[in-house]
């Protein structure tokens, strides 16, 4: 009886673990799409409205998807704090914090980090180039993340259950 209970627990835990990994794969393209939309909004604020960076970040945070709004909100807060930090530093601090709570990869984070280093330090023409480059890079990452999600989501959903069931049979 105890063995049976152990086997059920093993299969359940393995199944849940598989589902969680699959969910991470499914979450990435969604987050990347939200991020892309927010950066496109930031581009509009900077290039067409010439809104000062702190205000632009706040406006983007106000209309962004909840999963990415906190990133822009924190960056705006850092910039407004008048502690002598520059836009690049505010962006970096916010990015370091954001990295711990999302499903983005190092490569995607480095795209955001590069954009942050250029943000606000040049005229509109130059800012447009940096923002569009980041958008293009994010679009490529979205395609890649979607392919990975299509490939891995279903696999992990089954793999968790199958592997844990096999382990349970072996142990039984």
């Amino acid at each position: 009886m105890l063995k049976l209970l152990g086997a059920v627990l093993l299969v359940g835990a393995g199944g849940v673990a598989g589902i969680l990994v699959a969910r991470e794969y499914a979450r990435r393209p969604v987050e990347l799409k939200s991020l892309l939309a927010s950066i496109q909004m930031l581009e509009t604020e900077i290039i067409y409205a010439a809104t000062p960076l702190a205000e632009a970040l706040e406006r983007v945070a106000a209309v962004s998807d909840r999963s990415v709004a906190c990133f822009f909100e924190k960056a705006a807060g850092e910039l407004r704090s008048m502690t002598g930090c520059t836009g690049a530093e505010a962006w970096e601090r916010s990015l370091d914090w954001y990295y711990t709570m999302n499903s983005l990869t190092r490569r995607e984070m480095s795209i955001l980090a590069s954009l942050g280093r250029a943000l606000g330090i040049s005229g509109r023409e130059d800012q447009a180039k940096h923002l569009r480059l980041a958008c293009e890079q994010l679009k490529r990452e979205i395609i890649r993340a979607e392919e990975e999600a299509a490939r891995n989501t279903r696999m992990w959903n089954y793999l968790g259950f199958c592997a844990s069931t096999a382990a349970a049979i072996l142990l039984y």
Partner: protein, 339 residues
């Protein structure tokens, strides 16, 4: 309404004077040095000069001093804090709020106005497009001019320019060499004219202020940071000639005020305002009427004979002291003679 709350000019910049806004745009290293300079120096600072690979300098009312890393005046260049490239870059970032793209026009003009109405001049390499300055790059020099609002700075001027019969002011030109307080006096005069001065029979007047360089009202994002009176409409960052005509047509002012008249188009716009029955008060760079008469645009203005008061400011003890007031006949004589 009184000329000055305490009977004598008083600086009014809020708690901490102008320093909270100024320190906020200085990079940490320079901020610490300036903060350590001591109240005696800080109360006399008119400018902070930050030049790449040059000593950090403070422009005081008595001349400039180099500052050492501990905040004390340096005996020589060797003891002074040398400004690094990173200091200048960070300073520009802080001045612009990391929004250089939002200040392209200001950078093209060579100055940015920050919160508190302080004007920051910048120099670097000019990028030209079609023979005109498109922008500045490789910024290497920053000059933060600390704007101090002196309530009562125009106290000694007002009795000389009020037209008691007309219950308004005479057409007035304020002139002086640089750093004698023209802008400070004009700002306070605008405040008094706008609020009114009943003891001299002057009711409050609707004042249109063309503040091309954001120095008088010190507008930051469109909002005056200086007290320029309750009936003052400010046209910020607008070319003087165009601004005067715009105000005349749109805001129905009784008085139009502006700074640093000198070009032919400014005088032409001024002539139009004068002929519209609106009083004017403006400033001009120059140390004597004779010197002013050598400038063609001003010579023409002298010959028109419409300005009633020419006020020369000096710097005896403090900036903004009225040295002498000339009448229209003095200017006409000088102007015609030199023409």
């Amino acid at each position: 309404m009184s000329l000055s709350a305490a009977g004598r000019p008083a600086s009014r910049n809020g708690p901490g004077g102008p320093w909270p806004e100024v320190l906020a745009v200085l990079p940490a290293a320079i901020r610490n040095i300036v903060s350590a300079a001591g109240d005696d120096i800080l109360s006399r600072v008119e400018e902070i000069r930050i030049r790449t690979l040059k000593p950090l300098m403070l422009g005081l009312d008595s001349g400039d001093v180099m500052i050492s890393p501990d905040g004390s005046p340096a005996a020589g260049r060797g003891q002074a804090y040398t400004v690094g490239e990173e200091d200048v870059n960070r300073c520009l970032q802080l001045i612009s709020g990391s929004s250089v793209y939002a200040l392209e026009e200001e950078i093209r003009n060579g100055f940015i106005t920050i919160a508190g109405g302080h004007r920051v001049g910048i120099t670097g390499k000019a990028v030209l497009e079609g023979g005109r300055v498109k922008t500045l790059k490789y910024i290497s020099g920053i000059n933060i001019r600390i704007s101090r609002e002196v309530i009562g700075a125009a106290a000694s001027l007002m009795p000389k320019i009020i037209d008691r019969d007309g219950k308004t002011i005479h057409h007035t030109m304020i002139f002086s060499p640089p750093r004698c307080g023209k802008t400070t006096v004009l700002r306070d005069a605008v405040r008094i004219i706008s609020d009114g001065l009943p003891e001299y029979g002057l009711p409050g007047q609707a004042v249109g202020l063309v503040d091309e360089r954001s120095e008088i009202a010190g507008c930051y994002q469109g909002i005056p940071q200086r007290n320029v009176g309750v009936r003052t409409d400010v046209l910020d960052g607008c070319p003087k000639a165009e601004g005067m005509i715009m105000l005349l047509r749109s805001m129905g002012p009784s008085v139009i005020a502006t700074d640093e008249i000198g070009r032919a188009e400014d005088v032409r716009a001024l002539e139009e305002v004068l002929n519209a029955g609106v009083r004017v008060i403006f400033t001009v760079h120059g140390s004597s009427l004779e010197e002013l008469a050598l400038r063609p645009a001003l010579n023409y203005l002298f010959r028109l004979g419409v300005v009633d008061r020419y006020v020369l400011l000096g710097r005896r003890g403090r900036a903004g002291v009225v040295e002498k007031v000339f009448g229209a006949e003095d200017a006409a004589k000088t102007g015609v003679a030199k023409c």
